[in-house]
Subunit: 493 residues, 2 copies
């Protein structure tokens, strides 16, 4: 499967419940215009609440600049919703006849090359497409709640689904920050929901038999294996646990448990040598290029600070996030498109709850976090991007002076403006202002940076294009007043 991405201009979402609403939020956050149809008059209110949650989450998830938000319209009919849509998402209740009736309406007006993606959790796509005129464009794209945050989407084609439909859907899902997983065989409930169903049925037995309450069952998950599964799945986790003896040894060691009454769900496969070998070699192909030692370290780091740390480790769901952020950064307008005669807006975000400390306000260290991110955005405006750094140049901060003038609480919207005080030769002198809302000044940050050669780690002159872009900013800011607090020291009485 290619890893290209393609962002559609317009999508339709039929059904505005928790899943449909989650799709809407993810799509508009990623710059896709969306038309929604749902006969329930409460749907606009419900979707607004979901988008509100999604915006709250996005502010914590990334400081990468979002694309211009997609437009959201509520359509009066299915036909109105799907006309001209490149991607048509069906998220109506899990009843085959209802879904087939929706496809019939869609087919009256949809473009021949529109992708029709069902969000069903379990109905087989061959059944969904059975009565369609052009069934090749129907597939299952099964997401997970909350759709605007969880990256997984299971893609399943039916007997009549074209390869081209799956390929194009893969590109679209990647473009909106998801991790498409293409399943090659149809089966009811696909893969993830078979696990959820097995756990659900087992949990029902445990509750029914009075073994554990819902709270105890939840705790048995979230204090233990749930933490593991946020970063590795079943097989890789067991591979690591099995250690140097290998996966086949692990399976055989635990094989006898399959004969024990360790679940209420008793129909089990025969553990033939062939099955053991299949699992063992698949696990080799999946994980064999890393030693157990490396896998343990990756696992442990992930368990400590999962979502954000996954990004730092270029692993799993964090990799999905990083790819998506990189695309957003690539889309930052070049400096020439911005009014650069005033201090530049280099950061706008909400204060995450986890940035606050025992004093009930944003921790002092997060002030520098804001200024550091603002400096990074300004760097990219000057052409210091991933390619420039890879080619061997960058700027390092050598001195920082912060005046913490006022406190700020969780969820407040803050922004940073950046003024260039000087920038010639190896040196760059920046001055940031951090505000809450329009103009409540929270802090100033004054920073001296040096350009460095990334091989020698010694100071060096920037490349010509960076020097030139920087000179433009210096010229543009030459007439601005020197900001209050610049050049100040902490006084020793």
């Amino acid at each position: 499967m290619a890893n290209g991405t393609h962002r559609p201009a317009l999508a339709a979402v039929i059904g505005g419940g928790v899943i449909g609403g989650g799709w809407v939020a993810r799509l508009i956050q990623n710059g896709v215009d969306v038309r929604v149809f749902d006969p329930d008059p409460e749907v606009p209110r419900k979707i607004t609440a979901i988008i509100d949650n999604a915006d709250h989450a996005l502010a914590r998830l990334t400081i990468a600049p979002p694309p211009a938000r997609g437009r959201l319209d509520f359509a009066g009919t299915i036909a109105e919703a799907v006309a001209d849509g490149e991607l048509i998402i069906e998220a109506v209740p899990e009843r085959l006849e209802m879904k087939q009736a929706v496809y019939a309406e869609i087919e009256l007006v949809a473009a021949n090359d529109a992708i029709i993606s069902s969000s069903t959790s379990g109905i087989m796509p061959s059944d969904l497409q059975a009565k369609m005129g052009w069934p090749d464009r129907l597939m299952v794209g099964h997401p997970f709640n909350p759709v605007y945050l969880l990256p997984l989407v299971e893609m399943v084609g039916g007997k009549k689904t074209s390869h081209e439909t799956i390929r194009r859907a893969d590109e679209i899902y990647r473009a909106i920050g998801m991790h498409p997983l293409h399943l090659r065989k149809e089966i009811e409930a696909f893969v993830a929901d078979r696990f959820l169903e097995a756990v659900w049925r087992e949990a029902l037995w445990l509750v029914k038999d009075g073994i554990a309450t819902t709270a105890e069952i939840d705790d048995s998950i979230r204090y233990g294996f749930g933490l593991r599964w946020a970063q590795m799945g079943l097989f890789e986790t067991y591979r690591v646990a099995g250690g140097e003896a290998g996966m086949a040894h692990f399976i055989k060691q635990f094989g006898p448990c399959l004969k024990w009454p360790w679940t209420k769900l008793m129909d089990v496969p025969e553990l033939t040598d062939e099955l053991v070998e299949t699992i063992s070699s698949q696990s080799d192909a999946q994980s064999g290029s890393r030693s157990i030692r490396e896998l343990e370290r990756i696992r442990d780091d992930n368990l400590v600070a999962i979502m954000q740390a996954l990004k730092a480790n270029d692993w799993g769901a964090g990799k999905t996030l990083a790819n998506w952020e990189a695309a957003l950064y690539d889309a930052i307008p070049a400096a020439a498109q911005t009014d650069i005669t005033m201090p530049l807006e280099t950061l706008r975000r909400r204060v995450p709850a986890e940035w606050t400390d025992y004093n009930g306000h944003m921790n002092e260290a997060r002030y520098l976090d804001c200024f550091s991110h603002a400096t990074d955005v300004f760097m990219r405006m000057c052409g210091v991007d991933a390619a420039y750094v890879a080619a061997g140049g960058s700027y390092f901060t050598v001195e920082t002076h912060i005046r913490h003038l006022d406190e700020v609480r969780a969820n407040a919207e803050v922004h940073v403006t950046t003024q260039v005080l000087a920038g010639a030769g190896k040196k760059l002198h920046l001055f940031h202002h951090l505000y809450e809302g329009d103009n409540r000044l929270l802090a100033t940050g004054e920073h001296m940076l040096l350009h460095v050669d990334m091989s020698s780690r010694a100071s060096s002159l920037p490349g010509e294009s960076v020097a030139s872009a920087l000179a433009d900013f210096v010229d543009a800011h030459a007439g601005l007043p020197i900001p209050d607090g610049a050049g100040r020291a902490i006084g020793v009485k």
Copy 2:
């Protein structure tokens, strides 16, 4: 169950595999002396590797000061290992006869009030204790790999286990940073492993039938519901997904799936009204004090930066971590016990991988993170602790000056020393040095702080005991030279 904690002085671990070794690491990190017995001559090497992993993880998990590390000894016999041990952990292979033979040896020498805790994943404690002379002190304490990191331990008593044994074990597990979950009924495989077994059996079917590979199965978990289960379990997740209609509605809506072939494991409970009501009311008791809206927000925040963010949210596994850290901070020696005539060591840790940035070194903002934590430790030395803050006083940083003098890579050990330049009335003037290893200077941090009244958020005089502790530090540091760089400003040319 009371929430008191008790840290034993000495523990024995019988069996030094992945689970036994994980117990050893967690215990010595928490200041418990441990004697290990395992006839395998490779065990000292294997346990050293596990402890190395655990230390790597601990450096990322917390900057709270660890207690003096427990002593590790390898015993030549079971008798030598368990003599005088307050907690005796059995972690030998899952064979009833072998475990019973181990208990017989333990009973020859163990103290009458020693707790004997089996790490079995599935054997019922009534069977384990069947042949014991003093069976009241045997229980199951089932941990999860990696034991040094995952907080869950399932506690299960057998027919003859005393309440006192369970109560004391609960206090011990809490003292070493774990979340004990007391299961009131015996059942094979307890609770968590029944889910793992159900998922494992289902996964075996999917692989056997060629529906998905091990890698695809793992991705279907870790990009989707695995992220959810790191912070909420099955029932609370579904409660949130079900929204305002409530848990009973959710169960009934998805009830029909139980009749569908959505798992290979087909023996399912009858969804009677009574069962629906049981689940619904248990879920109310568990989650009903929060609105769906609140739960959604908690869920979303958790998904973004799970382990560390869970701590900030005082929720789930993060709460376990926070409680444990608080106990470690409480154990910091009072200032009187430290030589305070030299700059004070206020931080020592390794640089986590996620603190580094695209320049391949610790991000500039993390320098202030280090200084901020160092300031917090100094604050506690002066008596500004959780109780002082709760009573209405604290210090806020108003100005920061950092000289970033050198770069530092992931995993390097760094430490901070703190010198008091001035501290009288409302003001406090601190100067930190950040070093890698013994003496490679990475940065200096100069900080002006003001004491504040937490109600009015205005500056105020500190309490007498804090002012007095601070005065002692000021006197002790009065003869130290003014550090290089103090009082400096970033020069505007």
